[in-house]
Every structure is written in C-alpha cells, then in structure tokens.
Symmetry: C7
Subunit: 72 residues, 7 copies
C-alpha cells in the first residue's frame, strides 16, 4: 500500500521529533502529539529558536497558517 | 483514550494560564475562559507585553488569526 | 450555566464601552451597538487614537479582520 | 425594534455620505449608492485623499477587503 | 427599478472605460469586456501606469483580489 | 455568441503565449498548457525575469494567488 | 487524451525531482512523494537554498500557500 497524501508525512511523524520553520523565521522543534489538516500542531518538549536565542517549553499549539515547511 | 486533535491542547487549558505570541510580536498571558476552533480566545486577568512595556486588562477577546503559537 | 464561546465575551459587552486594537496599531474605543461572528462591530461615541492624535466620531463600522484584540 | 447587525449601520447610510479609511491609509468619502455583506461599496460624488492630495470622481466601486473602518 | 448591489456598478460599465487602482499602486485603464463577483476583470486596449511609466496592452486579465478600487 | 466571464480570456489563450506579472514583481512568459478558475497555470517554454535576470524553464506550475495580472 | 488541469503538471511529476520557489525567496528541490490540490507537497532528498546557504533534509512537508511556482 502506497501513501499518497502530503498530510501522511505528518501523520507518520506522530510521537516523533519534527522541526518547523515559521513564516516569520522562527524555528520550532518538538515531539508531535497531535496534528490536523490545517497543519495546526500540538508539540511537547519544545525548543524555539528566534534571533539566535533558544527557549524551551513543555507544551505548545502552533497555528498551521504560520508554517512555511516541516522537516520530518 | 488518546487525545488526538491540536485543539484539545487548548481545550485542556480552559481555566488555566496560557501564553500567546501574536504575529506582530505582542505577548499576551491570561486565564483561558473560552476558545473556539479558529483559536479565538477569551482571556481574563491579562498581561500584555509589547516593546518591553506591560499592561494589565481584566477581560480580552483575541482574534485567532493573529496568533502565531500558544504556550500551554 | 457557563458561557463557553469567545464571542460571548463580545455579546456580553453590548451597550458597554470596548477598546479595540487594530492590526495597523490604531486604537479605537466606543460603545458597542452591534457585533457579528466575524468580529465586525458597530460602535457609537467613538474615540480613535493613531500616532498620538485623537479623533471623535459619532458612528463607526469596524471591519473584523482588521482587529488584533478587544479589551472588554 | 432594535437593530443588531453591524451591516445595518451601513444599510442605514444608503444615500448618505460615508467616510472610508482603507488599509493603505487612503481616505475616501462619497454618497453610498450600494453595499453588500463583504463591505464592497458603490459610491458617487467621491473625494479621495492620499498623501495630502485630493481627487474627485463621479462613481467608484471600493473592494470591501481593503477597508479598515467606515465612519457613518 | 433601483439597482442595489455594488457589482451592478461594474456590470453597468461593460464595454466602457474603467480605471483600476491595484494594491501595489499600479493604475490600469481599459475597456471592460468581462467581470465576475470576485472583481476579476477582462480588459482590452489597456494602459498600465507604474512608477511614472506607461505601457499599452491589447488584452489583460486582472485578478480581483489585487484591486483597491475601480473608478467608473 | 458573446463571451462574458473573465476566465474566458484565459481559456481562449490555451496553447498561446501569455505574460504573467506576479505580486512580487517577477515576470513570467510561457505557452499556456492548462489553467483553472483559481488562475493556477501550467506553462511550457517559460522565460522568467526577476531583477533584470532571465532564466528559461521547460515546464512550470504557477500558483494563481501570486498573480497580479495576465497579458494575453 | 489531453491533460487539462494545472495540477496534472504536478501529478505527472510524482517520483521525480521538482524545484519550488517560495514566497519568501527560499528555493527547495526534492523528489515529489505526495501532493494535493492546495499544492501541499511531501518531498524527499531535499536541498534547501536560502541566502546562498544550502541545507539537506531527508523528508519535508511544504505548505502549499507559501509556494510561488514549481519548476517541473
């Protein structure tokens, strides 16, 4: 069976680390806990990098329309 | 039972403190009183930080499409 | 009975003073005469602040998609 | 009977002078000949102000999504 | 019979000269050959002005969401 | 029979050269192989001009919402 | 049989190398593993070029609304 929707790339990554690049340049890495078709994502154990500065958060909800791409 | 929608992250935070980062850089923290699928949020006991300045408000309605991410 | 939609925050403010912050930085305060789910608002006895300058208007219709947040 | 939709503010102004502020800062005043729910407006006897310069037009159709607010 | 939709302003101008101002400041004049509810327009005998420079084209399709307003 | 939809302008150009101006200023010319109502276009034998530099491509899919206007 | 939808250009490229230009100027090349009507794309063996710097990734999901055009 072949997977053939882009969202499957994200579905396959549930429970794994993903790296997001936002439209404003922010880079967010975290463990993917939940995702939907709009690319909204619930991440845990998050590291956020902006302007050379890194901050850690336990839980984060990222709005999908701010995402440029996701590295899996 | 497993939760598997990103919006559940927000639903679980009802009555708790959340921290929003808006697309224009504003940071808003407050107690989540109500939320919807568009990420519109009704917050109480709000602290808003913009350009190093902090302002407090009792009740605020934040438009979801201005949100970058929510720290839970 | 508990209220649980963000729009209820706005519905509760009908006839009361509200303060809007627009995406372009403009600040508008007025008495809320009507509102809808898109956050379009009809305000009366309006004060508009932009770049340190204040202007007063009797009636104003604000387009909801220009709103950042509403202080209630 | 109470009016309770923001669009009623605009409907009430049919045939009267209205003043629009666009998202790009342009200011347009005119007599409202027709309007719809998207805030598209057909204006007559129009005065347009941009960067201190005023121009007059007989008929204009303004696209609603360029509007910030309307003074009635 | 009274016309009462903004799009009627455009429908009335079919076969006539119209002047468009785009969101990026470009000014386009042409004869309106076809239009739709999204304000997409098919123009002929077009003159386009951008940064003091004028260019002429025979046929042009303008995407409606780039339009600020239309002078009729 | 009169054509009366803007999209007909594009449909008529199938198999012919078209010139697109994108919102970011890029200019793209090519032979129109396929188009849809969103103004997505499949072009062949493409020439792309950006900042005085020209590049040639065999096949290109242009996203319609990046288009300002199309010269036919 | 003639192909006549722009998306067919992308469907034909499944399993082949494609080159995307994003709205923020980033250039992404990769092997197309999956695509949808919104131009969301799942790419493998990715090379990303931004500001003269190239980075390689195994798997990437690109959000379609950030795409300017796709070279096939």
């Amino acid at each position: 069976m072949e997977e053939n929707r882009p969202i499957d790339a994200l579905n396959n990554s549930k429970g794994k680390r993903v790296l997001l690049r936002l439209k404003n340049g922010t880079e967010i890495s975290g463990t993917l806990k939940a995702q939907d078709l709009h690319l909204n994502m619930w991440l845990t154990d998050v590291e956020l990098k902006k302007d050379e500065e890194t901050t850690k958060y336990k839980d984060m909800l990222v709005r999908g329309d701010t995402v440029l791409y996701i590295i899996l």
